[in-house]
Amino acid sequence: MKARRCEGVSRRDSLMLGLGGLLAGGLTGALRATASEGVIAPKPHQADACILIWMDGGPSHYETFDPKPEAPAEIRGQFGPIATQTPGIQFSQCLPRLASISNDLAVVRSIRHNQGNHGAGNHYMMTGAPPRIPVGCGAFVSFHPSLGSVVSKEVGAPEGIPAYFSMPSMSRSGGPNFLGARHAPFVVPDDPNRSSFRVRDVTIPNGLTEGRFESRQAIRAQVDRLMRITDAAAGDPVVAGDEFFAQSMQLISSPQAQAAFDIHQEPGDVRNAYGRNPFGQRALLARRLVSAGVPFVTLYHGGWDDHRNLFNAYEKKMPPFESTIAALIEDLKSQGMLERTLVIALGEFGRTPKINKDVGRDHWSNAMSVMFAGGGTPGGQVVGATDRQGYAAVERVLAPENFVSTVYRKLGIDPNKMVHTPEGRPVHLVSNASPIDEIMG
C-alpha cells in the first residue's frame, strides 16, 4: 500500500502541496506560482500543437483528395477533379477552397488498415493500436491511449488549462485508457456560434466573492479526510478525483485560460471567415486555445458514413466544411502560428470504390486519404498512391502506426517510448515508430 512513484512523493502529498500553496498565497499567489512554472524550455520538435479534424464515419477518398477521373462511372462518381494551386496535383471538385491553398497542404493517399468497422477503425486511427479483439460498428472502445491523451500527458499545457480539448464531444476512442482520466479530453459541448456561448462551470458562481471562494477551499482542505489508495494498480477513483479537483482549481484561477474561452473577443470579420456555424466557430475556438498553449484539440465532425445519397450529402455539407478548414489554415498562417501548429483532417477509413445501389459508398479500409498542414509539413505534395481505380494503396503503403508516429514525432514525443499500465505492464506508445518521412520534411 506504499506509494510507488519514482519521485518519492505520493500523489496525496503533491496534492496537499498544491493546496497548501493555494492557501498560503491565495488565488493570485497560486497564479504567480503556476505562471513561473509554466515556462517550457524549447525542444527540438516541429510543432507545439495539433488540431485534429475528425470526420467520424469515414470520408470518401474519391470525393476528397483522391479523385479517379479515369475510373468507370460506377467508381469515379458524380464529381470530377479540379486543378489545385500545385501543378500536377488534383483534388475532388468538392474541395475548391482547399485546392486553392494546396501549397500549404500535404495529402497522404496511401494509408490502409484492416478494420472495416467504425468502432475498430476509430480505435486504430485514433490510437495507432489495432483493437485487441474484434469490435463492432456501434462500439466505443478503448484499449490504448488516444493521440490527444498521450499529448496531454507528454506535452501538457500551462495555467491549468486542460491539455486536450474535444468539441463538441469526444471521439469514440479519444479517451486516455490507462493514462488515467486526467488525460481525458475536456469536452465543450455548447455551440460557440451562439451569442450566449460561455464555457460552463469554469468560473466562480455569480454572487460569490473571491475571498469567500478561497475560504471554502481552505475548509475543504481540512474536512477532506478520506484515505487515498496510493498504489496505482488499485485504480482508486478518489485519486483520479484529486487530479480533477486540482485541475479545476487551476483552470478557474487562470486569466489566460478564461480569456482563451472567450470567443466573443474575436473581431466579427474573423468570426465570419471561419463560418457562422457551430463547426466554424469551434475551429476558431480551437485556434484561440492553441494560442493559449493547448497542445491538442479534436474537432469532432460527425455524419460521414454516407452509405446512401453520398453525392447529395457532399454537395450540402462540403462547402461550409472545407471553407472552415481553409480559413483555419489561412488564419494560423497570418498569425504566424501555422509553422508550429499541425492541422490534420481524416476519418477512420475510406469508402468503397463501387457506388452501391443506394448511391452511397460503404466502409473501405484498403485506402484512405489524410490531410496534413503546418507544423513543419512540406506543403504542395501528395504522398503515396492508390491504384488506378482507388481500390487499394499501392505506392508507399502506410499503416495507422506510421500516421500516429508522425504526429508524435512532430510534437516531440518518441513513439517508441515505453509506457506502463497501472498494473505496471510495459507497452510501447506505437508498435511501429517510423513516421512518414515526407511529412516530417
Binding site: 500500500m1 482520466a181 498504489d231 483520479a240 463501387k354 484498403n366
Partner: protein
Amino acid sequence: MPSMSRFVAICVSLLLGCWLGPVTEAAKVSFELDVLPVLTAHGCNAGACHGKQRGQNGFQLSLLAFDPDFDFHSLVRESRGRRLFPASPSDSLLLRKATGQVPHGGGQQIEIGSSDYETLLNWIAQAAPRRIEGEPLLQAVVLDTTDFSLKPSEKNSLRVTAQYDDGSTRDVTRLATYLSNEASVVSVDPAGEMTAGPLPGETAVMARYMNHICVANVSIPQPNTLPTTRYSELPRSNFIDDHVYAKLQKLSLLPSDPIDDATFLRRIYTDVIGRLPSPEEAREFFNATEADKRANLVERLLDRPEYADHWAGYWADLLRPNPYRVGIKAVLNYDNWIREQFRDNVSYDVMVRKLITAKGSTWHNGAATLYRDRRSPDEVATMVSQLFLGVRLECAKCHHHPFERWSQQDFYQFAAHFAKVGRKGTGLSPPISGGEEIVFTSTSGTVSHPLTGEKMSPKPLFGEHVGEADDPRYDLANWITSEENDYFAQVQVNRVWGILMGRGIVEPVDDLRSTNPPTNPKLLDALAAEFRDSGYDLKELIRTITLSRTYSHSSLPNETNASDRVNYSRHYRHRLRAEVLMDAVADVTEVATNMQAMPPESRASQVWTHRVDSMFLDTFGRPNENQDPPCERTPDATVTQSLHLMNSPEIDSRIRSDQGRAARLAASEMTAAQIIEETYLAIFSRIPTTPESDYGIELLESAENRRTAIEDLMWAMMNSPEFTIQN
C-alpha cells in the same frame, strides 16, 4: 497445413490410389480439410476482406469459413465458374488473384510454388470436388489441457486436437488460430505458445480451428503462497464467502478488513435505496445494539418505497426508448410498468414473461411499448437475447458468430418467435409519435433466412420448446425462464452482483460466452442456483449478497490485494450514480431539485425520461437516449463533474437558499457542536471525529455570520470525495 494434407493424402491414396489412375499422383485434396484452412490462414475470408457481409468486389466467402457449402458455391459455381479453370489450373482467377498476378485489392497473399499454392492448385486440378470419398467430418476441437497456472514470464504451449466423426483425431495445433483476451496478462503466438506476463493475473486464451472454438483459462498466481489456516479461519456468512475465499486462496490474496458501521450504513443505503441516510436514521443505527442490526437494516430498506425507484432505474436504463421515436405517452406508460414490477417485487421470471409476451395498447399496457420501439423480429431478438440470456446475437444476424456457436440459422430461428407480433393503430411518426398502437398475436408473419430465403420456424438457441402455443412468444418465454436454461438466472445475478460489488463476475455483465469466462464460475453458478430456488426473488438475492462478508470488505487494500480488481478481496470504490448524487444534493441542502414534467419535490430517481433536462444528470453520465445503444452510462469521474459541483450556480444557490439546511441550522437553537454533528451525519453519514468536531466548532464560533460558515462547510464537504464516492 502440409502435415494435414499429407495425412489426408496417405489415407486417400491408400484407399483409392489403385484405381484412380494418373490423377492421384498429386495427393487428393479435401475442400473442407485442406482448401478452407488455407483461405482462412491467409485472411481471405476475414471480416475486412471477402468474409464481410457483401463480400469484396462481388466475391464473398463466409466469415472464417463457417459455412463450407456457401464457400464452395462461391468458388465453384458463382459467376459461371470463372474463378476456377480446371483445364489449366494455374490460370484460375482464384490463384492469379491470390498470387497478385492480376490486380488484387488484398495484394499478394500466396506465393507461387508454396505448399499452400500447391494445395489450391491440386484441388482445382482434381476438378474441385466438394468432398472426397471417405472424408471424415470435423465434430469438435478440444484442448488437451484447459486450465493453466503459470509463473510470471513462464511459457507453456496449447495443444489443440480435432475430433472427427469416424472416431479419428488429429493434432491441429499448427493450423489453429489463437487469441488472448488480455494479451498483457498472457500473450499467445501463432503456434499456440503462451507467455505469461510479468505480473499476477488471469485471462482466457481462445483457440479456433474452422468453425470450432475452445478456451483455456490461464492464471498467474501471486508468487508467495499463504498458509491454508489464513483462509480456514476467515469468518463467513454464507456460500458467497466460501466461493470468494476459495478463489482468493488459489491466488494467494487475502481479503481486506471488515468495515465499520458507518461505512456499512452509507454503502447499504446508497446501494439498496439509492439515497443517503438521514441524520436521525444514522443515529438510530449507530445506537442499536442487537447483533443482527445490519440484517435488520437491510430488511427495512428493502421495504422502503425508494427501493423500487432505485432498482427500476437500472432496468429503465436497459429498456427506456427515445420518446421522439415512440411517443411520450408510451414512454411514460413503460416507465410506470417497470416501476410497478419493482414496487410489487414481481418475481423476475414473471416480469420477463410479461415483457416478452406483452400485448394490448401502448396506452394501457406499458410493456407493449417494447414492441413499439423494436419493430422487426431481428431487432427484438437481439435485445431479448442480450437482456435475458446475456447472449449477444448481433454478429449472427449477418454471419456465423466468430466467437460462439451461433449461426445465422440459429439467429433467424430465434427471431422467428417474434414473426407473429402484429401491430395496429398509429405507427411511429417521429418526432411526436403520439399515437396509440395495439400489439397482438397475428395469424400470419414469417421470418426468412436472408441468404437461403428459407422460412424459419421458431426454435430456441439450444434445447427444445416444451409446448406449441399459437403465439410462439409464449414458447420462447417458457424456454427462457425454464429451470434448464442456465443463462437466464446467470445474467441477472451477474448484473445485480455487478451493481452491488462494483464489477460483474463476467464483464460486460450481459456478455456470457465461453470465450469470456467468469472470474469465479462456481460463485456465478451458486448465485444463479440460489436465485432460481428463491423463485427469482430479487430482494432475496440482494439480501444474500449484502449480508455476505464479501460485501462488507473494506475498500482499503492490505499487503496482498491492492492490484485485485476482479476477485472481490476488497470493495471497489466507485462514484455514486448520477441520480443518487443528484438526490443526495437535494437531501443535503434540503432544497428539492426543480424539474420540468415532474411534480414538485420529485426525486431524480423518479425521472421517467431523459427528455427531462438536467445539466447535473448529463454531467454525471446518465445515458444519452439519442445514442445507440442508449443504455451506455459513463461511470467515470471527469473534470467537468468536479467543476460542476464546484461552480454550478444552481447548486450554489441551493446551498445558500433561505429555505435550505444551512439557513435552518443557523437560525436554530442548536449549539455549534450539534450543528457540526448534524452536518457530518447529513453529508458524510458519520459522526465527526474529535479533531473534525473541534475544527468545525472553531469555524462556526469564530465566524461573523454563522449561516455563511455553515454554507461554506457544506460546500467544502460536498466537494470532497467522501461525498461523491461510495467507499
